[in-house]
Symmetry: C2
């Protein structure tokens, strides 16, 4: 099946299937969403207005049997940051969309009236239907209803109440293989989907299959590639403890932001650690390992049960646990899991929202540590859209502005995640320079700063951090184009067979002959395309800065500040 561009215009309710422009042919995932957004979206437009577009793109390898290739990129202009945005997540949608021959699905325009719609994607194209039953419903109710309403187990891409209410922290949520939820979380693209009044999208490929140019070479490369992944010790730790293995590691480093970024270590870290989580899951009969999409060989996800042995949440990530845990001083893993489940159901970013609660606690709205209060407020305020609920649902910056708080950990209005840039300086460069606001996944220097993957760069000194972040951001942009999970990076950095095998996979899939240089150039092209969009939207190098308090308030236990000058940060872009 030939890949094509599927387009839906919500203003006039038309759909089309178009040939792929030649200049887009080599792109997938983030590279394609950013290319399309840069080409078709006015950078100065209102993110929730009719001129913004929402672009879905499977990665270049999505839909194949290549290990860990099931990430779906979603792009647009972010209502949270005002920048270009790509959020990628797992679940089954990327693979099924790729099998439908969808190179990209573009939603554009906006309905004039206040009806809601659903979209059905098949290899033949897209159909639009009015939706009434599921409007206002949480994500779990959507998935449950659709599991009986729709045949052939389609992928489901949906928004919860947060997206319907156009909250700037709203996720686009995607069904995982077991009916759980994965989130394209950062940057509020769920609000863009809500602004286009699309409640959900189903994806049903039927018997359609991808063509592989050289199936034998593909299989061989995948064997090498998958072996590199499973052999790496970080992959193994992720499979055993989930990403939450990091709580104790980052706490030990003194870079675990605690109590709204006022300390670098959390007294309750043991209680919320990956080790405790692992033991709790085993005790209660949950699942220690779980994959968010078919073909994942790392299986960092898990299913966490409550004390009665019933499923409470799945895909229980380090950054979410850190945010509701250390940053809000909640040391009860069950409260954190309940909050995680509620945020999945509301369809709202568990990093942004939890950091927003940390700022709200500093503002005195709740006591630090009050996990039950957070759950109550998620149900009574955020899910229902009270004034306060919307303030929180619009993220940490929103809470800070609304309550006059000055210690607000955001860059380009997006919440800083689970690694303090004062004690882990490389990640501070990533937060500052990322084209998409603070985001650890844009250039995960923790690998080298803390885990000694791909070498070692001392997290507490400035030396080498800009270069480290630059190299990782370039590589990440390329990886995000393949549909690969970012966790392939650990093997790619340490195992010299891994990256060549990935390139072999791409070459065998398309019958081309990419080199490692081509991959690096792809990464550079993506970053520069994104930055150019942001410049046209009004961003300057002055937006590539951390909030004032990181420069002024030393972080315990190392008593360090973030001490890069603006000029030093700006050298990031010297490539």
């Amino acid at each position: 099946m030939k890949d094509r561009i599927f387009r839906v215009n919500l203003t006039d309710m038309t759909t089309s299937v178009e040939d792929v422009p030649e200049s887009w042919a080599g792109h997938g995932g983030r590279g394609l969403t950013s290319t399309i957004v840069a080409a078709e979206v006015d950078p100065t437009c209102h993110p929730l207005g009719p001129k913004n577009k929402l672009v879905f793109a499977p990665g270049l390898l999505s839909g194949t049997v290549a290990a860990n290739s099931g990430r779906l990129s979603v792009g647009g202009k972010s209502p949270l940051t005002g920048t270009i945005k790509e959020a990628n997540g797992g679940g089954t949608a990327a693979q099924l969309m790729a099998r439908c021959g969808v190179k990209a699905l573009i939603l554009e325009g906006q309905p004039a009236d206040d009806k809601w719609f659903s979209l059905a994607v098949t290899p033949e194209g897209v159909t639009i239907e009015e939706e009434t039953e599921l409007v206002g419903k949480g994500n779990f109710a959507v998935l449950e209803t659709l599991s009986t309403r729709l045949e052939n187990n389609p992928a489901i891409i949906t928004i919860g109440p947060a997206g319907e209410m156009k909250m700037a922290a709203a996720n686009i949520s995607i069904k995982d293989p077991d009916g759980g939820i994965r989130s394209n979380g950062r940057g509020g693209l769920g609000a863009v989907m809500g602004s286009k009044r699309v409640k959900f999208i189903s994806v049903t490929p039927g018997d359609a299959k991808l063509e592989i140019a050289d199936p034998e070479a593909f299989k061989a490369a995948n064997r090498t590639f998958a072996k590199a992944l499973v052999d790496h010790p970080v992959s193994q730790a992720l499979g055993q403890y989930g990403t939450n293995v990091l709580v104790n590691i980052i706490n030990e480093s003194g870079g675990l932001p605690t109590k709204n970024f006022t300390q670098g270590q959390f007294e309750g870290h043991e209680k919320i650690s990956g080790e405790t989580m692992h033991d709790t899951i085993k005790e209660r009969g949950g699942r220690v390992k779980h994959n968010c999409h078919p073909g994942c060989v790392i299986q960092c996800s898990q299913v966490y049960h409550d004390a009665d042995g019933k499923k409470l949440t799945s895909g229980f990530e380090y950054e979410s646990i850190w945010a509701m845990g250390a940053d809000c001083c909640v040391d009860n893993l069950d409260h954190i899991a309940m909050a995680d489940k509620l945020m999945d159901d509301i369809g709202i970013d568990s990093i942004e929202t939890s950091v927003a609660f940390g700022v709200a606690m500093e503002a005195g709205i709740l006591e630090f540590g009050d996990g039950e209060g957070v759950c109550r407020m998620l149900k009574e305020d955020v899910a229902t859209g009270t004034g306060l609920g919307r303030v929180i649902g619009n993220g940490a910056g929103s809470v800070g502005r609304t309550y006059g708080v000055t210690r607000v950990p955001v860059v380009k209005n997006q919440a800083i995640p689970a690694y303090d840039p004062r004690a882990i300086k490389g990640i501070g460069i990533t937060y500052a320079t990322s084209t998409q606001g603070a985001d650890h996944t844009m250039g995960y220097t923790i690998a080298t700063n803390i885990l000694n993957v791909g070498g070692a760069v001392d997290p507490l000194t400035k030396e080498g951090q800009v270069e480290l972040s630059r190299n990782l951001q370039i590589a990440t942009a390329a990886i995000d184009s393949t549909g690969m999970c970012l966790f392939i990076a650990f093997a790619a950095l340490d195992n010299e067979e891994c990256l060549p095998a990935l390139i072999d996979l791409l070459n065998a899939r398309f019958g081309i002959s990419l080199t490692a240089d081509d991959v690096v150039n792809l990464g550079k092209y993506i970053l520069k395309t994104e930055r150019e969009f942001n410049e046209k939207a009004g961003f300057t190098n002055l937006d590539d800065r951390l909030p004032e308090f990181f420069y002024n308030e030393p972080l315990s236990p190392h008593n360090v500040v973030f001490d890069f000058s603006g000029e030093e940060i700006d050298t990031f872009w010297d490539f």
Copy 2:
């Protein structure tokens, strides 16, 4: 008495009185606040953090008997716009401060703990005292308590609950000669005062008097100047109907923004017009004319009574009446007056807050026209700081962002006031290019577009608007430095004796020999100084734009859009 710089550091609780640096000597009012802010405030600092400063400066002629010279400028980095900001207002503070020999009063730093303070300014300097009794109190209670607590009828500069809660629409409020309130309203400088934990400032000059270099020449110039003011027909209309004379005029022009900027005329305009207000005041025994500071010969202020003949509000301005009236579709002048009084008491900008209510009505929080609902919400939400109350108290942009509304009339996050830029195009250029966010007073093209003062420029065509706005913005910046009320501009534009008399006043006051060219150059210097600050804060020409809907949604009855290209707008700065 020699003018000096009075400085208060709230971090270490020290005060000082300093000689005026030579480069500041020729400045007063806005020219001085902007010069000091540009010199001493890091443009990238958090507006509510310790690095921002709050600068008070009487105008160059304040404290003299020159007619209409009692405006006090307050400057800082705005928490609403992020730009440099000067807000000026009437009341008795400018004159008494000037008599204390205060060239400027600079508040800097921030207390470490959560105590509140008051400042007492005398010719000897400033003293700091802890304040407890008035914390949390509304402005009227503050004025009443201080009228008995303090001797010698000092000027009072205070913040209400909005400033204490650091709402981005918070005023700095100043006592008028009759114990009413005048507001330095735009841009939320009350929140900066709150961030420094200063509840109020008293100003007591005792017997101190200003020196006039050439008293006879000063008197002669003032006679000419005052005569020019009182002779102008617009001055006379302002004295009779207040600024609210404009409701019917702007409605007739089709540029009265109605129902959150969806129409250019308001069906209920007669009920809220200056003519109706005038008759109502007379019927109920209020005061049709009233001056906001001693020496005003125009007297556009008034005292508006309720149906029982008791004072309801004073200083009841067109822009406030438009905002709560036409923009929120409230056609009951008593409801508008009650809202005005409540906003004065809370200490919050009646333009920003009312436009915020218009956006809130579009979001469905209240019905359009529900003036009683607005008053209830002001009391129960804004004054007490509920989540919703803070969303509103942070202005129109805040409501728009929080509720995902795309029709949000703001520039640089400041609410667009009472003149629609689609039907009155000159004012659109002012809104777009002003260094301080949308603000009609920065370059009041209504004079020439609508009132035919200073010539006539057709409001509906593009021709001549950029030049008109440029000339007026330059002149306004200079006028804002003199302490003169902006309403001298009508006479200055039409009466050829007026501007020379103003220059004679300056020359006689200081024993200098300014020319008209010097005044124009002063205005240019101020605009460029302010713009340079904004550029260093990260603003670009892309911030000099109106919201998308002004370009896309034609305004009835003329069915016009705002049709200036970015390049055309940018020519404003060609000087």
